[in-house]
Symmetry: C2
């Protein structure tokens, strides 16, 4: 009986969220010149918001292989830089045109579009600056592996490619395999990077990563189905962003394609399956198990 | 007497331009799915245009230290990915709002704004994917050095930071030191990366890079002054982009601050100074010398 699960997850979330904020404070210290507005925009988007799910997953993955906290934290910071940059760009008028993010005005609303584009571009670079630093890992081979994986997960073969597919969803009727594929790229790729990060940092051979990849695939999809459910059932005050947007835009989602009840069932099945992929691990995988449970329990 | 200079430069330019196009053809092979529009937009921006000055500078820098052609080409490809992504984003309506680039419609005009933002973001990732690949350099330490330098040159401490300063130029009256600083970041940082790339690839120690940095600083500034002169004197049919935009926007430039004649003199002085920084090199630096001369001779 695991009665301590909620506490353990809550504690890990708080620790990571606070540490990521401190890291962003350092990373985004503004020079005293005409770039202060750029740094202010990056800080607005990056500091004090979000669940920091991806850095948390990196930390949980590092737990599996006894990777040190600084390596885990810096790798989590890099993936969060990518995540935040993508939110800034996705919120732009030409993309999803959102006014609200994490309960605050989006960057282009709080500042302006040009600043938002540049703030996203800069966080994009900072992700790689963080990874390439010796403090992330002493071995340049491991740093190269991280950079290779993150560049792939965020570019046209990952997140940005998925966002492009999503943009066509308003004009092309999506079926279930297409929605699944789009989500695997758009949100799944960065989650998969986060799950694998511990194995990369520990230089674990490929054949010992198979279970982790299964876990990542299932949790990523469960996370997205839960997101679709929140978009239908959520409260903007709790989620901190606009809700009901997918339906209004006529976009196919898991929920619109298979209905709420089946979507919820499917997400639960995926979570059970994700945890089954961790069978070869002992208590060192408990945080990953808690995270799997959390994906469908969260309210925002 | 160096009578062969123009031919040598022309030949090198053609070789590099053709090789970069072939590399882009391979890198941007489109998957057969909903991302074809994204790849088409990247190809529109990346293939068959531009002088490929930065890859050419990388090649010239590699000549100094006998770095192989594939390493030089792939490093040049990476810096060109960054350059092209920055052109796509800078041309957006929220930024410089340009309709024409390299004689073709800009990406957001040929496609749409959302696609342009994502195409830029993807080329941004591809730059790092290219650098991190073993084919760029067998030693992961050298690859990390390249990635560190390129991320710094393109982010808030380099190109994107300079673009942010440039955005404030319409509302803030710039003096000469501010214009110089802005240009050092906006265009100088990527040129400096390109000049140093050969030394990084050859693992040349820091103390042997001083002259190269002097060369980079002077050539970068000369290049920008020449650009400002072209904006005043150029012909849109030859330059392939809109001209007279800086003056129309009331932006301070080298030309508006010190006048055409003095700007031209200053650029010539910088080119002579740049070449003087190469005094310790023999004929292996001839291409870098030709490039310095070319910065102020070019018509587009």
């Amino acid at each position: 009986m695991r009665v301590d699960a909620p506490t353990r997850l809550d504690e890990a979330m708080t620790t990571i969220a606070e540490a990521i904020d401190r890291q962003f404070e350092q990373l985004l210290t503004s020079p005293d010149d005409l770039r202060t507005r750029l740094y202010a925009a990056m800080r607005h988007a990056a500091i004090g918001g979000g669940k920091r799910m991806r850095p948390l997953i990196v930390k949980a993955s590092c737990d599996l292989f006894n990777v040190g906290f600084e390596s885990a934290l810096r790798t989590g910071l890099a993936v969060e830089c990518i995540h935040v940059y993508s939110l800034i760009h996705d919120d732009l008028p030409a993309m999803d045109d959102d006014d609200l993010r994490r309960g605050k005005p989006t960057v282009h609303r709080a500042y302006d579009e040009a600043t938002a584009i540049l703030a996203g571009d800069c966080l994009h670079d900072l992700a790689f600056s963080v990874l390439v630093d010796e403090r992330t890992h002493p071995d340049p081979f491991a740093r190269c592996e991280l950079i290779r994986a993150l560049a792939q997960a965020s570019g046209p073969m990952g997140m940005a490619g998925g966002q492009m597919m999503d943009l066509t969803a308003q004009t092309t009727p999506f079926d279930l395999p297409t929605v699944t594929r789009m989500q695997q790229l758009k949100t799944g790729a960065l989650i998969a990077f986060s799950v694998e990060a511990g194995a990369i940092l520990a230089r674990v051979p490929e054949d010992r990563r198979v279970g982790l990849r299964g876990y990542a695939r299932d949790v990523g999809l469960a996370f997205q189905i839960a997101d679709d459910l929140l978009d239908v059932e959520g409260d903007a005050h709790v989620t901190g962003k606009a809700v009901g947007k997918d339906a209004a835009a006529g976009k196919a989602t898991f929920v619109s394609l298979i209905g709420r009840d089946q979507a919820r069932e499917q997400a639960e099945l995926l979570v059970a399956q994700a945890k089954a992929h961790l069978h070869s691990f002992g208590s060192e995988a408990d945080l990953l198990r808690d995270i799997a449970d959390f994906t469908i329990r969260r309210t925002h």
